[in-house]
């Protein structure tokens, strides 16, 4: 199990860095979808299958579709992205920053003996019971946020009267 998690963590970090550094927005969207799929595997291995399914379907599927739709509707080219926003120049320091930050965090974790509990307590909770019985306010919040999102898109997309 641990080997799968280590491989998936390496892939997840790589896909996230590639998504941030890629000058093509389409490639960024695809790398982001791969990162979501990899995160889905990690969630599944950690014993959260419902969260994994929704992560893969919503984040890897729906968000990518929304993102690619926004890219295709705005038709901005890779050259324009580079010219207007100097993305290549802006993002070239990201790997160095991550390497330095990684070394600092690892040294701090080893020096301070920071380690999460290794043995997981066996989970006895049923997700459906918790979600539908204990976390009803969350469901209400989700419905309200979806409605607000719908209203926001309507306001943004409505045609001007003049």
């Amino acid at each position: 199990m641990e080997v799968i998690i280590y491989i998936c963590l390496a892939l997840l970090l790589s896909f996230c860095i590639l998504a941030a550094m890629s000058q093509s927005l389409l490639k960024s969207a695809i790398f982001l979808a791969f990162a979501s799929a990899t995160l889905g595997v990690i969630l599944f291995v950690l014993g959260a299958p419902w969260a994994a399914v929704i992560e893969v379907s919503a984040c890897s599927g729906l968000v990518t579709v929304i993102f690619i739709s926004a890219i295709s509707l705005s038709r901005i080219k890779k050259e324009e992205v580079q010219k207007l926003y100097a993305d290549k120049k802006q993002m070239k320091y990201l790997p160095y920053i991550l390497i330095i930050a990684g070394i600092v965090i690892i040294v701090a974790a080893l020096a301070g003996s920071v380690a999460l509990p290794g043995t997981a307590v066996e989970s006895t909770e049923d997700f459906r019971e918790v979600f539908w019985n204990s976390r009803q306010a969350d469901i209400l919040g989700q419905i309200v946020s979806i409605l607000i999102g719908g209203i926001a898109v309507y306001v943004l997309m409505r045609e001007s009267k003049d």
Partner: protein
């Protein structure tokens, strides 16, 4: 690697690195879709932290409920970002967030 560096700690470190990558992506560009990518990267780290907390404490059910709420919010943010992007492009012909300061009303 030190023996107390278990995979939970490695996940924590990778999550922090992802948040740094997302924040850097948000800070260093004016392109609205690249900013959205930065937000998404940081959100993935938060999702991973929530499930890790549930795994460590043995409360997987509760952590999954939080993750699903976070994913719903992520999708709503994505839709609103896409709406703002298209509106910005129609009005100014590019996706520079500095144009948003010119909006009135």
């Amino acid at each position: 690697m030190d023996q107390n560096m278990n995979f939970q700690t490695v996940m924590l470190i990778v999550g922090f690195l992802m948040i740094i990558a997302g924040c850097y992506c948000m800070i260093r560009t004016y392109h609205i879709l690249k900013i959205f990518i930065g937000v998404e990267i940081a959100m993935k780290a938060v999702t991973m932290f929530l499930v890790l907390a549930g795994y460590v404490n043995g409360r997987a059910g509760l952590s999954q409920a939080y993750v699903i709420t976070a994913i719903v919010l992520e999708v709503v943010v994505a839709v609103v970002f896409a709406g703002v992007t298209i509106h910005l492009y129609k009005k100014y012909g590019n996706m520079d967030i500095r144009n948003l300061t010119q909006l009135k009303g």
